[in-house]
Amino acid sequence: MFYRQAAIRHTSYDQTKKLYPIPFDKWLVVAVLLVALLAPFMMSGLYLNSYLLPWVIWSTAALSLNLLMGYAGQIHLGYAAVMAIGAYSSVHAMRLGVPFEFALILGGATAMIIGVGFGFTALRVKGLYLAISTLAVQYLVDWVLTHVPAIGGGTQATLQTPTPALLGFEITTDIGRYYLAFGWCALVTIFMLNVKRTGLGRALIAVREKDYAASVLGVNSYYYKLIAFAVSSFFGGVTGAILAFTFFGAVTPEQYSIDISIQILAMVVVGGLGSVLGSFFGAGFILLAPLFLNNMVTGMAEAYDFGVSRSILSHIPLILYGGLIMLFLLFEPLGLAKIYDNIRKYFLVWPFGFSRR
């Protein structure tokens, strides 16, 4: 079979910490990477822009939120607002003449500062109250974007994004924009993979699982929760900017509305809390599911000749996300990643089904 642990003999502690100790896993990753890198040359611009690019961007967003939700165990119901802060800040910065690279970092930093400032207060409350106060951020940002013309650009306004440029090279093609999003996604992915195997990840999980037990080990739980808020907000801010620059080409409040927050939440939960791979699964699943369902409903409406109003159609995705979040929380709290893992482990121990690993 493909998966075999036999003949893998670690001779140093360093080797045991490899990201992919099993050769088949490693080659799988290499293959996926190759496909992702060559994809722009193998598919039409339409597919690239409407499927692959959003998938890459939303996976990055899900990964970023997963650090906060999966590792630190802190729910965030207004993550789209964090992305909005990053997007608007970097667009404004670029319009003021800041080079693209710095504008991105500035966007992330602004999101981080607001995120942390907010986390300071939010972390004093727990559970439901934290959830509600993250929701408050969403409404606050929404309000500012629609009511403060200097930031939102005035009513009904769309702020066009300036052309991004890396090291002086302007990025004007679909392929260039895809690689930009892909590069950022790769950085965030690598960070998240590393979190898994360092003291940072262990401390975050410890704080999530039992904060009193973490504290006797010298872990300052408040500090680590803040770190999670800060890094997650920074990543979210940059991802929000990348979304604006590579996908929409503009920023509007609707791009970062509460619906979008729920959508990212669904990606994280459906994909799997704390899982890197799961974030990719979740993002893909949540992006594609409404398309399928919409087609199905319109198809059925035509076949059985009943009318479906546009407003119902537009609400289908939200109903679907809510349902999926509940179903997964009830039946597979670790999401699609867990389902994949079960299958992988089945092959790993095949034919000894009684063995767990």
Binding site: S12, K17, R197, T198, L200, R202, S215, V219
Partner: protein, 263 residues
């Protein structure tokens, strides 16, 4: 590591007149005790006598209402638990407090937290920064794993191994922090005779080989009298007796508390 100064405090830990109430209940009432370096100090008492509360008062979980906790010559009364941990105090819990979902190894590695500097940058630049630290600390953890004979459980999810082993993992997690002071809250609860003997051996070895001072709460009198140098007995938050194990368990008030009490 501990360079002795001219005026080294004679006692590693001293608690003076500790009071702690929960609502109307006086869980601790004027308890004083002191532990010297390198000894195994026992704390006994019937159920609900305030033993765990005493540990919580020392480690900062339930700061005392009145009284002082002096550790290593420093007043640590009311300091946050994570700061007390960084001063070299480690503890285990009466009801295990391991991190479910993590492997035995990762649980023990967390004990090294006080010696590591996990951060965002070192994680981002794993290959250049965190890696060396991770490997070095893994090495130390493996020594403790050998010491406590946990090799076969190393990669198991911690919640899947038997309770007796889990208690040992918690001891390992406390020991890898290289504490000066180790508090064990009923480390042998629910163990059979053989497991108890192993645990007693580990505690003695930890003291003798690692120089750890041990504060031991235990219900098994045979163990306590067997390995403790000195001990005290509590009942309803009051101190009954203090001294050598023999003196304490033969003290009339202690006998009365145990016979007349819930035990």
């Amino acid at each position: 590591m501990n360079i002795s100064k001219s005026a080294e405090p004679p006692k590693l830990l001293s608690c003076e007149q500790i009071d702690r109430s929960f609502g109307g209940l006086k869980a601790l009432n004027g308890v004083s005790l002191s532990v010297s370096r390198g000894e195994i100090f026992g704390l006994v008492g019937p159920n609900g006598s305030g033993k765990t509360t005493m540990v919580n008062a020392i480690t900062g979980f339930y700061p005392p209402d009145a009284g002082k906790v002096i550790f290593n010559g420093r007043d640590i009364t009311g300091i946050k638990p994570y700061l007390i941990a960084r001063l070299g105090v480690a503890r285990t819990f009466q009801n295990l407090a391991l991190f479910k979902g993590m492997s035995v190894l990762d649980n023990i590695l967390l004990g090294r937290h006080v010696h590591m500097k996990p951060g965002v940058l070192s994680t981002a630049l794993y290959w250049w920064m965190a890696r060396k630290e991770e490997v070095a600390n893994r090495q130390f953890v493996e020594e403790i794993i050998d010491f406590l004979q946990l090799q076969s459980a190393r990669d198991e999810p911690v919640e899947t191994i038997p309770i007796g082993l889990q208690k040992r993992v918690e001891l390992a997690r406390a020991l890898v922090a290289e504490p000066t002071f180790l508090i064990l809250d009923e480390p042998m609860a629910g163990m059979n005779q053989e497991e108890k003997e192993y645990m007693a051996r580990f505690i003695l070895d930890a003291r003798d080989e690692m120089g750890v001072t041990v504060f031991l709460i235990e219900h098994h009198m045979d163990v306590v009298t067997g390995i403790c140098d000195r001990m005290i007995a509590l009942s309803y938050g009051e101190m009954l007796a203090e001294g050598s194990p023999k003196e304490v368990i033969t003290h009339p008030r202690v006998i009365e508390a145990y016979l007349g009490g819930s035990h």
